[in-house]
Amino acid sequence: MEYLIDFMLILALVLGLACLGLRRVSQCVWAAALQGIVTGILLLIVHDEVEIGLIVVVASSIVVKGLLVPWFLTRTIKTGRVEVEVEPYIGFNLSLVIGGLAFGAALWLAIALTLPFEIESELIIPVSLATAFIGLLTIVSRRKAITQVAGFLILENGIFMFGLVLVAALPTLVEMGVLLDLFAAVFVMGVTIHNINRAFDHIDTSRLNQLHDKLPSRRWRMPRNGARQREAVQNDQADS
């Protein structure tokens, strides 16, 4: 059983790294969702005996993180007409390298960290720390609000995996509470993104400081990239 846990942990780590390297917002969201499913299954196989409370937690976490949240986010992408490309501040390759270094640092930290009790797998701590870091990196290094939500999901997955260490001590109620928080947060973020998008025509977080009480004047409103390109094309056509 232990090596199955290891495989799932590494799968979760690779999915997190994939989210740093993927080009499309929807792919990034699905990578985070798949990681949520993997962490849910991990919780199931870490436990020795299966009981009702466990099954409820696992099932609800898979449904929420693997189905509801990505469905909701893809819906926001569609209705908000979000452009497909991830716009990173830090390039894809560099992000991957930083993610890899983060895993190295997490391994070093895990070796330095002695636990008072035996845990199921030596990889739980480094992978969960690295996943949390990858989530933070995604949040700070991506321009679109949707990718930031995906980063938040990855961060939560990291915390969830760290909880596997305390598998005996962490009661079902706490897990359910965390899950509810997550769902509420993603819901709020989705609605907010939708509304920001409606009011401003873009969800570029680098320009959030232009948010004002009243709607910004025409002078403040910068057209989003796609609009600008379309304008350019129309001008070209007008010229020719």
Binding site: Y3, D6, F7, I10, L96, L107, E122, L123
Partner: protein, 308 residues
């Protein structure tokens, strides 16, 4: 380490069967494309034909151009001697032969690049430049892969790493490291052998020219040598891949050898499937693919060191 009869016969089988693997790939691609395709043994016929011809040499080329095909074939041939089949042991192996492996492949590449530059053709120079770029990124991946295997098995020779030591590692904490390694090795195999996501082996078109354009000016036996060396190189990388997968199986050697044959055919079919379903990547995206390979092997090495 003494060379067993089995390891020598496996190497001879490699020398004989390597062109057949290319044949299987081409036949599968033709089948998927709805064509009849060239016969399985086409590359043998081509090699026969080329060896009977005379060479044509441009007056601008010198001894480098004439010597390079022999150097390439010799170094790739020696590399094949280092690769075992499951637990058979290699024909010769010593601690640190991983560097001989990487070094000989680099020597073959250097000879090819120099020969391409020697022709003075702008096309060949461009192909050489691209080959150098790709190998500069793929070699770290190869070496990191050897590091990971060395840490996992505690051995320093290729035959030792791919031998008995790998079987218990699958079910230990370093199991996922081996899986990551396999993915990295597959990407590396495609890149090193100029297969489709990186290079297109069927054309000399300007856009796809890496390997094919570098052998454009060679003719006769020289071209035969280079083509045969390319087939051997593909065999070597596929053999590494199949060996690592086969380390899951701990049975008698004859059964393992049989499975090895099946595995090589399966690898050829998988390569053909990749080539039939994917388009070649833009040149600017090739380093990104190889960065993924480097990242995966680095991750694998990190896990191997971390859980040791």
């Amino acid at each position: 380490m003494t060379a067993g009869v089995s390891s020598i016969s496996f190497v001879i089988a490699g020398f004989i069967l390597a062109p057949l693997m290319i044949g299987i790939i081409n036949k599968t691609k033709a089948f998927i494309g709805g064509r009849t395709g060239a016969p399985f043994l086409q590359l043998y016929f081509d090699l026969m034909k080329l060896l009977q011809k005379g060479g044509v040499y441009s007056v601008t080329t010198g001894w480098i151009f004439r010597g390079a095909p022999s150097v390439v074939l010799a170094s790739v041939g020696v590399v094949l001697l280092l690769v075992p089949i499951t637990t058979s042991g290699a024909v010769f192996s010593f601690n640190g032969d991983i560097f001989l492996f990487a070094g000989l492949l680099a020597l073959a590449r250097l000879a090819m690049i120099l020969a391409a530059m020697d022709t003075g053709s702008a096309f060949e120079g461009m192909g050489a430049s691209r080959e150098a770029m790709i190998s500069a990124i793929s070699e770290p991946s190869l070496l990191l892969m050897w590091v990971a295997l060395a840490v996992i098995t505690g051995e320093l020779s290729i035959a030792g790493m791919l031998g008995d030591g790998l079987n218990p590692a699958w079910t230990s904490a370093s199991g996922p490291a081996i899986v990551l390694l396999l993915v990295a090795l597959f990407l590396l195999m495609l890149a090193e052998n100029a297969r489709i996501p990186v290079d297109d082996p069927t054309t000399h078109l300007e856009l796809t020219m890496i390997h094919e354009v570098m052998i454009l000016d060679h003719s006769g036996p020289d071209l035969g040598f280079l083509t045969y060396a390319a087939a051997l190189k593909l065999w070597i990388f596929a053999a590494l891949l199949v060996n690592i997968v086969l380390s899951l199986y701990a049975g008698p050697l004859w059964a393992a050898a049989l499975l090895f044959g099946v595995g090589m055919i399966a690898t050829a079919v998988v390569i053909a499937l990749v080539e039939s379903t994917m388009a070649r990547l833009r040149m600017i995206q090739v380093p990104e693919l190889l960065t993924i390979a480097v990242g995966l092997s680095a991750l694998s090495a990190a896990i191997a060191v971390g859980v040791r």
